[in-house]
Every structure is written in structure tokens, then in C-alpha cells.
């Protein structure tokens, strides 16, 4: 027998309750406001109400030079700024039709995979925190600190890196980076084993996540899920594999897939992603070629800081680029990359002036958030927390 209240013999009269979860709620990962329609503790409908952090990024982009928008992209998915930078600069590079040197591409791969690790560490850590496994977040932050130290070496910043620039990166790898990075990626798999020891076999963790928030492969694609949330349903689509950008086709890595499409599978996909990211960084450090990191195209690419003090031409190009920018050809491009949360796409349309005519950001968290409703229908209130955590939305990106 169904144990719903309506079917019980006592004929309890219940009515639908509307509960506002958030925007100030510790387990909603930012300023998320969920309007929950509930019958008792069962969810009938979960309606995300977003926009509390809307800053009008796309409008801002239309009023800036192409290069000036890069720091704004840091503030989208602020847990993984490197990949936000990367998507945008790749879109502009495609628009103006330039390629960057191999070493620059390797450096970009290293930076974005480290970024993926730091993002997933926080995702899994906060997920544990939400479901009462508080230990994990402390361990996750220990490793995240190591990644942030590496980023600090790389660009001086720990949150908003602004490291990628159009035509390359802001600086080559500093001395000592390769050794320190290698040390980290060798150590990291053992640390993932620790996390898995804490969670993967944990009965409470399994009870809270197995069979919760199930979405079938077909529904997941239809709902626009991407990244680990899609792969949890067993759909084998990773942009790094299927449309390799940068030098991803030179690395040996596996795409982790789930089977049931529940929260637990999305968790295993994230853990698998972290392991593979460490492998990719390790291989990239092995293959790292010598040479410049930036394209030598003064018309579009700003000269390095060191050149400014010694070369007159560099100073002239720098002045020209900062004060006037550059004019890409008329056209439109769409570039998408595999960000930690899913497909991060930038559509850039140029009308031939120094400023973009239109920039559209396809933020993975925004699209993924649509599936909160179908996933949590029929579940209990406490499961909604697991569902949100399993999608890992970041509100800088959802609200743009």
C-alpha cells in the first residue's frame, strides 16, 4: 500500500504548504531561493527563483573593449575562474582567428584542470557539510589550499585569477611551479582515497544519496544537463573528449560515467573527474614543451610586462591596445568548453568595432538548475538539499 497521507484510513485533511527555502539558507550554495510546494514533507513542485545576484554581465560586456571583459568573467563561477577566463578568451581568439603557441596551451590545460580540482573539492566538501558529514570539508579545504597556493604562485591571486589573456596567458610558469605542482598531483590521488574512505562506503552517505534525485539519460539530455551531472546518468559526453580543444587530445584520461542517474552517481562522477584531472596535469607537466606562452601578434595580443620596460615597440603596442583595443572581423562565434559544472559556452558577435556587439554566456549552473524540479518531485524536504548539492550550482554563474 502507498503510505501517503491521503490513502490512510483516518482521512487526515492536509493542505499544500508553500515553503520559501533561501535566499539566505546555509545549504543553498549562495543566494538561491527555492519555492517549495509541499504536501506534508513531500515535494510537489520546486520552483527556483533566481536573480538575486544579477549584475548584467552581458550588458557590461557590450560596453567594454574585448580584453577588458576578461576580469569580469572571473566573477561568474567564482570557484573556477580559470575556466571562465578560458572560455571567453578562446571565443575571442576564434573570432579574430589566432592560435596560441603550444606551451601556452599546455599552461592553460594545467591551470584549468587544477581549477577543476579546486571546484570539485569544494562541491564535494560542501555536499558533505550539507548532509552532515562535516569531516570531509575540512580535508577538502586542506587540499584546496594547496591548489590555491599553486594559483597564487602562478598569478598572485587566490580567487579571481584573471590569468588567461587574449592570445595566451599573463605569465609563464614561475620557477619552482612545476616541482610543486608535480608534488601535488602525485599526492592528490591518495587524498582522494581518504575522501572515498570517509564517504563512498558510508552507510549514511549511501542512504542519503542512493536512489535520490534520479534522472534518466534521456531526460537528462532533454533537460540540458551537462558535465558530471549528465554523466551521472550514463551519457558519455565530455567536451574535452568529443570536441577536443587546446591539447586535450594528447592526454590519456577516462570519462567517469554513472549508471542510475541518482545523487550518488553524480558524486562518483565528480570524484572520478578529480582523479582524471590530476592525471591530466601530471601528463601535461611531462609533455610541457619549451617556447613562448603568448602568440606574437602585436595587433591583438598585449606584450608581456618585461618587454614594456625594454622595448619601445612593445610600449607602443601596449598603449594602442589599452587605449583603442582591436577590431575583429564582423561575425559570430560560439565556443564551449568543459567547465567543472558542465558546458560553459560563450557566444560572441562582432559588428567590426572595438566592443563586442553581443556576448552571451551559456552558464552550466543556470541550465542545470532547471532539473531541480523534476529531480525533487515526490521526495522529502531533506532530500532537496542533496539534490541541490549534487548539481553544484554557483550563483555568480547562475545569475550572471
Amino acid at each position: 500500500m502507498e503510505n501517503t497521507i491521503e490513502n490512510s484510513k483516518d482521512e487526515l485533511i492536509t493542505r499544500e504548504v508553500t515553503l520559501n527555502m533561501g535566499p539566505q539558507h546555509p545549504s543553498t550554495h549562495g543566494v538561491m531561493h527555492l519555492i517549495l510546494h509541499m504536501q506534508g514533507e513531500k515535494i510537489i513542485k520546486a520552483e527556483p527563483d533566481i536573480g538575486y545576484l544579477h549584475r548584467g554581465m552581458e550588458k557590461i560586456a557590450e560596453n567594454l573593449l574585448y580584453a577588458q571583459f576578461v576580469p569580469y568573467t572571473d566573477r561568474l563561477d567564482y570557484l573556477s575562474s580559470m575556466t571562465n577566463n578560458l572560455g571567453y578568451v578562446m571565443a575571442v581568439e576564434k573570432l579574430i582567428g589566432i592560435d596560441i603557441p603550444e606551451r601556452g596551451q599546455y599552461v592553460r590545460v594545467i591551470a584549468s584542470e587544477l581549477s577543476r580540482i579546486s571546484s570539485h573539492l569544494l562541491a564535494v566538501g560542501a555536499w558533505g557539510l550539507d548532509l552532515g558529514a562535516i569531516t570531509l570539508v575540512l580535508y577538502a579545504f586542506r587540499e584546496r589550499e594547496m591548489v590555491l597556493d599553486l594559483f597564487e604562485m602562478l598569478c598572485g591571486a587566490r580567487l579571481t585569477y584573471n590569468y588567461m589573456k587574449i592570445g595566451g596567458v599573463r605569465g609563464d610558469l614561475p620557477p619552482g611551479f612545476v616541482e610543486k605542482c608535480r608534488e601535488f598531483v602525485r599526492l592528490f590521488p591518495k587524498r582522494i582515497d581518504e575522501y572515498e574512505g570517509l564517504l563512498t562506503g558510508n552507510r549514511i552517505w549511501l542512504k542519503r544519496n542512493k536512489g535520490v534525485g534520479v534522472v534518466s539519460a534521456e531526460d537528462a539530455v532533454n533537460l540540458g544537463l551537462t558535465g558530471p551531472s549528465l554523466r551521472g546518468s550514463g551519457v558519455n559526453w565530455d567536451i574535452r573528449k568529443d570536441e577536443p580543444y587546446l591539447v586535450y587530445d594528447r592526454f590519456d584520461f577516462k570519462v567517469t560515467l554513472g549508471e542510475n542517474g541518482d545523487c550518488f552517481d553524480r558524486y562518483t562522477c565528480r570524484v572520478g573527474d578529480m582523479r582524471q584531472a590530476a592525471r591530466i596535469v601530471d601528463q601535461a607537466l611531462d609533455q610541457l614543451p619549451e617556447g613562448p606562452v603568448n602568440a606574437d601578434i602585436p595587433e591583438f595580443v598585449a606584450p608581456s610586462r618585461a618587454d614594456l620596460t625594454t622595448k619601445m615597440e612593445a610600449l607602443i603596442h601596449h598603449f594602442k591596445l589599452i587605449s583603442h583595443g582591436f577590431k575583429p572581423p564582423v561575425g559570430e562565434v560560439y565556443v564551449s568548453i568543459e567547465a567543472p559544472k558542465g558546458e560553459l559556452g560563450y557566444y560572441v558577435k562582432s559588428d567590426g568595432t572595438e566592443k563586442p556587439f553581443r556576448v552571451k554566456i551559456r552558464a552550466p549552473s543556470f541550465v542545470n538548475l532547471q532539473s531541480v524540479d523534476p529531480m525533487s518531485k515526490g521526495l522529502y524536504f531533506a532530500d532537496v538539499v542533496a539534490v541541490i548539492s549534487s548539481l553544484d550550482p554557483v550563483f555568480g554563474e547562475v545569475d550572471k
Binding site: I50, G97, W237, D242, E332, Y334, G345, R362, V367, K400
Partner: protein
């Protein structure tokens, strides 16, 4: 403008599937086809958009089962119209396709939410930012801005600093 030789810029499979086949089926509705940096764009008629989307999704050798994004562009200054752009992806064939329609300011667009559910938020965002209404959308309301917001922020005539009101003393004075 010189006519592009599309066949040269694309692989034979792309050409036969995404150009010949779509044009063969919807010859009259496809107004213009262009390739820029290897990306295919079909400019199609507004009324045919839902049919074309359905076709490219269901056709077994295309299977554009994933809708990446729907977005609006305010082209009123140059073409006196809005553009609505659809980015499609086929997970099976690893191909991308861009469809585009042009509409006048007061026209509505058929919704593609019945083809892909992921169009829901994207179409709401387009409505919120440009005021483009999608017919047949189950929940056509603002998504980012408050429900009583006036104006559509991403239109080119909407000021960057917003309009002046009691919360925004530095905004632009609204024209009567």
C-alpha cells in the same frame, strides 16, 4: 558580398547532412546559410523554426538531441529587427548547428520547449532581457529581474546605468 563556397569549408558529411538535407526538406524556409570559422548558421523563417527543430532532433542520422542555448540579439540599429539564435548539438554525431530567426519588435516566436525542455529557462531569459515573447511557453515570465520591472535591460536603447528612480539616483532620466 561574394557568395561563399560552403562545400569547400565543410566536411562532406557536414555538407550533406546539415546543408543539403535541411535545405532539401525546408528549401523555402531557409533564407540564408553561412559558414564562419567552421560554424554553420541557417537563417530560417520564424514560423518554420519549431518544425525544423523537430526535424533535426528526430531525424535518425542527425539527432540534435541537445539544445545548448537560446538567446536574443538586438539588431534594430542595423536590420531593424531582433534575432533569436538557437545553438544545437548532436551528442551522437558531435556536430553543432546554429539556427537563427529574425523578428520585428511586436512579433512573437513559437516556443521550442515542446522539443527540448531545456529551452524553458533560456526562453524566459530571452523574454526578460529583450521582451521577446515565446508562444506556447508554459511559464512565460521574467527570470532575473523582479516581476514588476520596467524595460528590457539588454536592449540597446536601455541605458547602461539604468533608469532614474528612488533606488537609483544616478540613473538616466526616463523620456516621457
Amino acid at each position: 558580398m561574394e557568395v561563399q563556397d560552403l562545400e569547400k569549408e565543410l566536411s562532406p558529411l557536414q555538407y550533406s547532412l546539415l546543408i543539403t538535407k535541411i535545405k532539401g526538406r525546408f528549401g523555402r524556409s531557409v533564407l540564408e546559410t553561412s559558414v564562419f570559422r567552421g560554424e554553420i548558421t541557417h537563417l530560417v523563417e520564424k514560423d518554420a523554426i519549431a518544425d525544423i527543430c523537430n526535424f533535426v532532433k528526430r531525424e535518425s542520422d542527425m539527432q540534435f538531441n541537445f539544445l545548448s542555448d537560446v538567446l536574443g540579439v538586438d539588431c534594430r540599429s542595423s536590420l531593424s529587427c531582433f534575432e533569436v539564435v538557437y545553438h544545437l548539438y548532436s551528442i551522437k554525431n558531435k556536430m553543432r548547428l546554429r539556427l537563427k530567426i529574425r523578428i520585428k519588435e511586436d512579433e512573437t516566436v513559437p516556443s521550442v520547449t515542446s522539443v527540448w525542455r531545456s529551452a524553458d529557462f533560456a526562453e524566459r531569459e530571452t523574454f526578460d532581457m529583450f521582451g521577446i515573447v515565446f508562444d506556447g511557453h508554459p511559464n512565460m515570465k521574467r527570470i532575473y529581474m523582479p516581476e514588476d520591472w520596467e524595460g528590457y535591460p539588454l536592449r540597446k536603447d536601455y541605458p547602461l546605468v539604468g533608469y532614474k528612480d528612488e533606488y537609483n539616483p544616478f540613473g538616466v532620466e526616463k523620456k516621457a
